[in-house]
Amino acid sequence: MGAGKFKIVIIGAGAISQAAHVPAVLASPVATLIGVVDPDVDRARALCHSFGVEAAVAADVGRLGVEFDGAIVAAPNDLHAPITLSLVQKGIPVLVEKPVATSVDAARELTRAADGKGVVVAVGYHTRFSGACRMLKHAIDSEQFGRVLRFAHQDGSRGGWSPLSGYNLDAKRAGGGVLVTTGTHFLDRLIWFWGSPAEVSFRDNASGGPESHCIARFVFRNSDRDIAGSAIFSKVVALPEMTVVETTEGLLLMPSDAGETITFRPNGDRLLEYEVRFARSGHDPRKLYQRELEDFIDACRSGRKPCVDAGMATASLELLSRLYEARQPLHGSEMKEYSDG
């Protein structure tokens, strides 16, 4: 791997590549896009054309005919693990979209392969790179704004992400429902903040398909105290994104996990609010996907671990799996039985 630009191939020419990965590669001074792979070659070609990019296109990596330094896997969820595994076995570093797999077993197999081969596998939890998330992590660890007592999170919209293949409506292909598509970033952050929870419970509205609304509860057992909290994720109810962490000194608020600031409201003063910024990312003009990409490239070049590697992504998948195992039905939207009017 030379010191020149890092040669990237994107696998999957769908909506997330169009919206995030191609712009990230093009914006990065250290990366260059040299190939796009998609079973629909016309779609791959159209993607390149829409950005005015001259890149090789092919239906699979083997037919691409170019040498590259690493790949971004942005295919439907059920293809993340098999595609990534095949690249890892060839020694090719991968930045794979989350979730890393649709089963814990597949994620573990991938982690073993990556570790065994010494190949970088970074997983696309891009919100880890936001100033807001980093500041919240710092605030929790440093106890600068008090000791954490409990937390609450919500994130809901009527509808949302529409992948071109529509795999999001198929629980098997997506690996689940809204807990995977929306909640997985939050689960990753919980583990980052406090490790694996001691207790979980979970209610959702799944009834033959992927859940579109769910409520998860967690208890984290620290040495001196428990931290409990819950999260609501929805694709059917508009719930403005918000993370609230209650501490001994007040409330820490993170209105967006992709933002650059958090707010602290001290106890006992309704008029006071502090806006808190993570100094090191406060003036970083790069979008989160570019930061994620450059973290991946730096990991490939330096030999260090990426911000979120396959092992960490497996931990969040394990938590996801625990929640699904604890599944209880969410009631409240059934109609009473009656005959037609």
Binding site: S212, H213, G332
Partner: protein, 393 residues
Amino acid sequence: MAERLAIIGASGFVGSALTEYAADHAGLDVMPFCHSTGGASRLAHRGMSIRQLDLMDRAAVDTALSGVDYVVNCSRGGDRLMLSGLENLLHACSKGSVKKLVHLSSVAVYGDPPPASSTNEDAPTEPAPRSYGATKLAQDRLVQRAASKGLPSVILCPPNIIGPYSDYLTDIIQSIETGRFRYIDGGHRCINVVDVNNLSACMINALRSEIIDGRRLFACEPADVNWLDLTMELEPVLRDHPAIPSISSEMFVDGGAAPGPSPLRKQGLASALKHLASDEVRTALRGNPMWASMEKTAKGGVRLMGKGVEDRLRDTFAGPIKVAVARPEEMIDRPLIAQQLRGVKHDPGRCHRELGFTPPLTFAESMQSFRNWYIEHFDFGSSEWAMLGKASR
């Protein structure tokens, strides 16, 4: 084999409820169509097979509706989709074997506020130009034209829609909890609502009715309900909130007449020169080196005439210093509160008589079902629910 019902716009609030209702109660082979998968999660969680359809693609619409017996159109979108897309839908319905089209319109076709005469469907339709009501009226006319050419059709006009998943009710809750809601005249003015499941049942009745002439029918709750009734029904799921103040309709209208377009200024040479000499225009023009140089020369010339002349010229062009009155703005939800000015009860009697339709749920039952849904889906009463409420204020 069961008859086939195509629901267009099945991923929306009404479309989803209708799809679920029809699948459970109508005895029809239900085919939900939506524009994209992003909004279809509510149906997907039941494992229903959802088809994507772009109404702007006439050939695709023709193919999708081939062999369909009934069509309900709940689609929404921009004007182009709502009109050209509907034309494609009507074309496919007319060309195929469709036995009945039910088109979802809105009471907004009568205008906002609606005329006092709109207690029944024969009232004049007077929506504001380019409003949502105007687009819905244009749609009604397309449907009625298709009906006159032989497509059996019914148009249903719902008001605001309540029941589980109702954004309308969750918006009212939020407005009350944040202290932005006001009653007008004590909350005693009537409100027109319909439960989404009653509306679904009404649409199924309309499909099976004898009516084919594209007539418009109100799909509203028959009970007399006012704003006080509605908010009292929401009270059990409200967080602690300030008491809801009441204001008179006159005070609301006086205090909030939306600022209209600024009266046209008297045009003339003086005003044109003033505009040209304004700081905004000069700043923009300074980007041009020639203009910047001319301005510099002119400024130098004026300065030579002495400070008194310079000051008088500045006052002439800029006029006296103006200070706007600043007062704390009362944060209220004007559009929501303004709905109380509508004050006309749309009578669903014709829908009852001509469709033989009686709503399965009473208003109280509808609100109970909303509360049940809300309590479960918002984790009502938990300490986290309280924290999130505290954070949002």
